[in-house]
């Protein structure tokens, strides 16, 4: 994991992947590349889980992407699922008003 990919992708089982975010920080030149990659994961899998538990730095745009992916997946009959979120990310999600639109894993 480095600045080229501020997240790691794990295949949990066929059709189910987990994106483990460390930092939502990266060069703005690569932001679109990351979004395209995440969108492709949503298209090619039934379930995309993501974990923001260990994420200590993130821009609001990354959270909005997650919201967008969640909404897109729902329209495709798929699922984008948040399996963990640090307090700071939760706080930012509240500030920008998207918390209710994130799909949290029921524990």
């Amino acid at each position: 994991m480095n600045d080229l990919a501020p997240y790691a992708i794990e295949v949990e089982e066929p059709g189910v992947v987990l994106i483990r975010f460390r930092s939502g920080r990266c060069s703005s030149r690569r932001m679109n590349k990351h979004e395209v990659e995440i969108a492709e994961l949503v298209r090619s899998n039934e379930t995309v889980k993501y974990d923001l538990s260990d994420t200590t730095a993130i821009g609001s745009a990354w959270i909005k992407w997650m919201v967008k992916m969640t909404l897109m997946a729902r329209r495709m009959g798929k699922e984008v699922l948040c399996v963990g979120m640090s307090d700071s990310i939760r706080s930012m999600s509240e500030v920008i008003g998207v918390l209710d639109d994130l799909n949290f894993e029921q524990k």
């Binding site: 703005s28 909404l71 998207v98």
Partner: protein, 310 residues
């Protein structure tokens, strides 16, 4: 450009400091009810003028001298008045702020066609209308900050949902109508200059950006430590810059509705230049947004009637 700021509340103070460091303000004249409150601050701003791009003079004046100050400046920014208390609406301070405007501001502007006046005090639409009705400034030299800040929040919010993510300034969307809970937003499908904007998510995104705008406005109203008022200051600076440099920027300031028999002021996109309001761009507002603006217009008329101000 020579500018006067009236008021030394949170916005007045922040604006005074910010304007001294801009590259288009040559003189700053600061007016306040209580001179003691601004003299030390004004001196500190003067001490920083060595590093200011163009500002060479900062003065203070009591509000009794406001009329003389207005004779010297190109533009005046009105920030004085009661702030909106937590749990109240902007309309709740109208009566009290109207009294302040009638007692001090309107006599100071009496008989003047200059300067260009930007009102920031809330409720901004109704107070700008009051100045229009009770001074000779006219409709092109008088504007309220209106929904400039709501539009800034809107464009930033939308940019986060567009791929690849553009600068907020590259988003063409507007918050229009009244600067209160009745604010309406217009988000054209091509608002992101040709970049991908998921059309099937348009309604969801519209809902989400409205929540973000409302959250931002609530932070300002709650005046907690999290409310920096930064976008308010930057919005006001951008309006002034557009006037000083004749930029013809499109901004959603609060302007006179020439078709309103009640002389209502509310925000529509306008070009702003060195003569003030150059042109209203009503054609940028689609029919469905105009429909939702009508509710705000009806509520404003009802409110003004209740204040004996129709």
């Amino acid at each position: 450009m020579k500018v006067a700021i009236w008021g030394a509340g949170t916005i007045g103070k922040a604006l005074a400091h910010r304007l001294a460091t801009t590259d288009f303000i040559s003189e700053l004249h600061w007016i306040n009810r209580d001179l003691n409150k601004i003299q030390s601050r004004s001196t500190d701003i003067e001490h920083g003028l060595l590093f200011a791009p163009v500002c060479r003079r900062v003065t203070t004046a009591s509000q009794k001298s406001a009329s003389e100050v207005f004779d010297e400046v190109d533009m005046a920014i009105l920030t004085q008045g009661y702030p909106v208390a937590q749990g109240d609406t902007r309309d709740d301070v109208y009566i009290r702020n109207r009294e302040i405007f009638r007692e001090f501001v309107i006599p100071s502007l009496s008989g003047k066609s200059m300067p260009i006046v930007l009102v920031i005090t809330n409720p901004v639409d109704h107070l700008t209308r009051l100045l229009y009705r009770e001074t000779d400034l006219g409709s092109s030299r008088l504007m309220g900050l209106g929904t400039v800040v709501d539009t800034a929040r809107l464009c930033h919010s939308i940019s986060g949902y567009v791929s690849p993510m553009p600068y907020p300034r590259d988003i063409w969307a507007y918050a229009v109508g009244f600067h209160n809970e009745d604010v309406a937003v217009t988000i054209p499908r091509m608002c992101a200059m040709g970049r991908e904007f998921p059309p099937d998510l348009l309604e969801d995104i519209k809902r989400l950006v409205q929540i973000e705008i409302a959250n931002g406005a609530n932070r300002v109203k709650q005046a907690t430590d999290e409310a920096t008022l930064h976008p308010v200051i930057e919005g006001a600076v951008h309006v002034m810059k557009s006037i000083a440099l004749d930029m013809c920027s499109v901004l959603t300031v609060s302007v006179h509705d020439p078709d309103s028999s009640n002389d209502l002021f509310y925000s529509v996109p306008c070009t702003i230049g060195n003569q003030g309001i150059l042109e209203r761009l009503d054609n940028l507002i689609p029919a469905d947004t105009k429909d939702s603006m009508r509710l705000g217009i009806e509520n404003a008329i009802r409110f003004l009637h209740s204040c004996g101000d129709a």
